[in-house]
Symmetry: C2
Subunit: 576 residues, 2 copies
């Protein structure tokens, strides 16, 4: 099935909660989105299904990506897409993250397995931009910004997953460089044939380093060692041991890499590897949340297309034969759950990206604080919802959805990685409750709640009954969020941890509903001013109304789960 | 990972809500469960992962099942397992369905792809037992009861999925038999190498039959035509066009079959095919719900085993290093959600099986009415929960869960078929609301609610605080169920249809909580009488408590979704 970039929705969300303001001229935004949409639709989207079937392959120690990936990547680099948010002095375009976020969405809707490579490359470039030495920037940064070379993140080892403090990879000093030895696993695009070189960013331990996470340093290890002119020279001692056989994202090579005294250079100070790596974390986690959104959007488009053409039974109350299943109330229910879910995910992800843009100038400011509060929510809630929405997409197809040929199953398989990588969703919930909520004694969440309440009040006071109903539902859900936040701030750490996952779901659900209420109010305002797009704006309002009635009603259930920590903690471990 | 049949849980549920009563001696129940457990653990469970990798293959028109399937099936037949609930005069053992249900659970926990073949065979035998002619019974029934031959259900065609009225397969009279022509799809075990013959039960249309579902007749079409001695003779004109490439249950061959003037015999009266097929529906739908339970149990066992051995990070408040992740509060939360979910599914499925046993003697009686009310709930809620619990199982594994080798991913893929086949869960919700709820104007659900309330009252009055809390949570959830039932009975059919899916989830959630409350009360009673198994009974109580605090709290959310039908129906279709 083809993919159509939802440009109108994207622009609407960017304008109303994406906070681009005047930083980018509206016609440039429109031109970039349109051009990116064409690239995603015509170049990337057709790759998705055949690449899933073919997978990436390890042949004689070399990773081969599926047919079409190389050509698509070359066009992506030639089009200058990689450096959109990166520094102009290194060839980037310095545009806001909020504008790049819809593009990340499009690449991942079109072909998530492919999109992972540029996603990691952008992250590696950001990291070097902030922490690399001048020499490292000179040799590597322009190549990563353009995408001529790609980047990887080497964190996980068999015994060190969520707990990076257990990393064992050694880095022995050897003159101006280091020699790295050990094994890394789950390295996305750890090897491939898309680019002429690969820059690995590797967590390792220098001799004499403290134990645990405070003894890790970060190293840059290229696949090919650049010569004096910066051209890829001899092969470094990093080899691919195997590709993992995964549930999904089959075309994305997930490598186990062996380092055998590989040559590398330290990035930043010794023992500061984890803090440096974690400066990229907000961006990486935002992008994983966007992947959840992206798969949900594609799954929704596919399910809608199926429901508009598949004829099966006579819908309740229909006079005519031959109506498609879209007319069955329960199929509509499923499609609306998908559509409203996608709308909430998009609003939340773009909003968080805008906060990161605003926060950049002031790392202690309110925007940055709120961004850091919401980033774990974007990562975990959007990725969980992505799986759920893709599952509903299968269900809309009936038996055909269980057949791989339908394409619906692939979205579900692909989506399932997002709740796991870049910090499991359990880790996100811990980050939210133990750090982001607690560090300012709830000030950030209270400020957010106050702003949500103002929206709820405005909506409840609206003359339009649907918006007023949205406002009332939002107010009730905010009350649950407020109570849950207060409980977590008062209780002990173990109880807070036991309630962290439902709290994250609650915050995501309410934040999504809040932003949809803002969009509904904006849509009402714009319907009055702009009569040409009335249908579009009316639809946005109806989405907000549906979400309020269905999703926000889950809030009391989440609150109960948050505050029922004793049922988790008191359960006898030996009988679990 | 190995599988251990949860015999103690099974017996406890059978005794307390499975209603075996005195119909089967307790020592026979125990012996059958233990022997079945050994078979499932030692013969079937080791097949599950290699068979998933190998899949069934179509080679030169013949379907080959994975290594070990034939041997396991031969042992299953030799062990007399197939005829457990079937008529003694045809070689069965005439035991209650409630006793067979834990066995169906075990086969499916151990290897769902394999278990589908006997599941369908038992259904085909039941159908012939009730509706076959004497001659059909003589030739086919003993073979199906023993499992020497296997059975299939041929319903679906490309244009006829949920809507069987669209079936086109033709059956032309030819003397004492018919000639069938057409194509059937999604035929589970439509061909295989496990048995010497296959008996297809096929919906088709006789010339001059009325259009729609009232013009379908049922036919028996053997793969090999039996000779006068009942031995398989010449090949009938049924061939396998292809095997579907599916998301899961890879080892179960899903066939597209072509009938080219194949010889068949009518079962029952002309044009009565659908009602005859539907007499098997309760059993088939119960069993699909049991599959959801079965996969959830296996996923839970695997996640628990992983969480007990995987060491990662230092759990909150722990003094010691090296504790497994089971000690992390959020991992415990996940494991408890899985375990409590499994307990509720088992209680509901066994309870429904017992109702079907009791209802057999009186098809208009209260037990049968309640069974028919609950069967769509068992099918849909247990299968939905099975997918959810298997997903949590992946999450407990972290990154390892996304690797197929872990086995966690297979459970999730396998589980995903159950919400689809044997009537999609949307069809189940429609059956529940439009038929089972409405046909007696809510009498069956009101009787159930009254009984639930008595349990809630008894629990709320219990001196033990955990049981009293369970009772209060149950009472609140029952109130939501009552309100939702009343709303659906009052509203128009389209609104009822729009609210049917959340209503089914609500009824499943509350019924599961009700049965767990009954089990908690029983556990308390038995703790006093039997001090040897105190830990076991205390654990059952704690499970009930956890479920009440977490799952029953979702009831208000479901109620809101049920009663918010207008948000579905009013959404402009052209903008969906």
């Amino acid at each position: 099935m083809s993919y159509t970039a939802p440009l109108a929705e994207m622009r609407f969300v960017l304008e109303e909660v994406g906070g681009l303001g005047d930083s980018v001229p509206a016609d440039l935004v429109e031109a970039i989105l349109a051009e990116a949409g064409r690239f995603a639709q015509s170049v990337l989207a057709p790759l998705n299904e055949p690449a899933d079937r073919a997978g990436s392959r390890l042949e004689n120690g070399v990773v081969r990506t599926p047919a079409g990936f190389r050509e698509a990547y070359a066009r992506y680099v030639a089009g200058g897409w990689n450096g959109l948010t990166l520094a102009p002095e290194h060839g980037g375009q310095g545009l806001p993250l909020a504008l790049a976020t819809p593009l990340v969405e499009m690449w991942n809707s079109a072909c998530m397995s492919w999109a992972l490579c540029p996603l990691l490359t952008t992250g590696a470039a950001q990291l070097l931009q902030s922490h690399g030495s001048d020499e490292q920037k000179r040799v590597y940064l322009d190549k990563l910004v353009s995408g001529a070379w790609t980047g990887t993140m080497n964190l996980t080892e068999p015994q060190a997953g969520s707990d990076l403090g257990a990393v064992r990879m050694r880095a022995i000093p050897a003159g101006d460089h280091y020699r790295l030895s050990g094994q890394k696993i789950f390295i996305t695009y750890g090897d491939h044939d898309l680019a002429e070189n690969i820059v690995h960013l590797v967590l390792a331990r220098i001799p004499g380093a403290p134990a645990g996470s405070r003894g890790l340093s970060l190293f840059l290890v290229p696949k090919f060692l650049p010569d004096a002119q910066g051209r890829p020279g001899p092969r470094n001692a990093v080899r691919t041991l195997r590709l993992e056989e995964k549930l999904g994202i089959h075309a994305s090579p997930t490598c186990a890499l062996v380092y055998e005294e590989a040559i590398g250079w330290r990035v930043g100070d010794a023992h500061r590897g984890l803090p440096i790596m974690f400066t990229m974390m907000n961006l990486a986690r935002l992008n994983v949340g966007v992947q959840g959104l992206a798969i949900a959007e594609r799954a929704w488009q596919r399910a809608r297309a199926f429901a508009r053409t598949r004829v099966q039974g006579r819908p309740l109350g229909a006079e005519a034969e031959g109506l498609p299943i879209l007319h069955h109330p329960d199929v509509r229910r499923m499609l609306l759950e998908m559509r409203a879910g996608v709308a909430a995910l998009r609003a939340l992800a773009y909003y968080a990206a805008a906060l990161l843009d605003r926060g950049q100038g002031d790392l202690e400011g309110a925007a940055q604080r709120r961004a850091e509060l919401l980033i774990p929510v974007v990562k975990a809630w959007c990725s969980d919802m992505g799986v759920r929405i893709a599952s509903t997409g299968i269900q809309v197809h009936g038996g055909i959805g269980y057949i791989e040929e339908s394409g619906a199953a692939q979205h579900w398989r692909d989506a399932r990685i997002a709740p796991i990588y870049e910090g499991t969703n359990g880790i996100q919930a811990h980050d939210l409750v133990a750090r982001k909520l607690a560090r300012d004694d709830g000030a950030a969440v209270r400020a957010l709640i106050a702003e949500m309440r103002a929206t709820a009040d405005a909506a409840a006071a609206a003359p339009a009954p649907d918006i007023a109903a949205t406002g009332r539902a939002l107010a009730a859900a905010i009350a649950a969020l407020d109570a849950a936040s207060g409980y977590l701030l008062r209780t002990d750490p173990a109880a807070a941890a036991a309630g962290s996952a439902p709290y994250l779901s609650l915050l995501g659900t309410v934040a999504g509903g809040w932003l949809l209420a803002r969009l509904a109010l904006a849509a009402e305002r714009r319907m009055e001013a702009d009569t040409t797009d009335r249908d579009f704006f009316a639809t946005q309002r109806a989405i907000g109304r549906f979400y309020a009635g269905r999703m926000l009603a889950r809030a009391p259930g989440y609150l109960a789960a948050v505050t029922d920590a004793r049922a988790v903690l008191d359960f006898p471990l030996e009988h679990l």
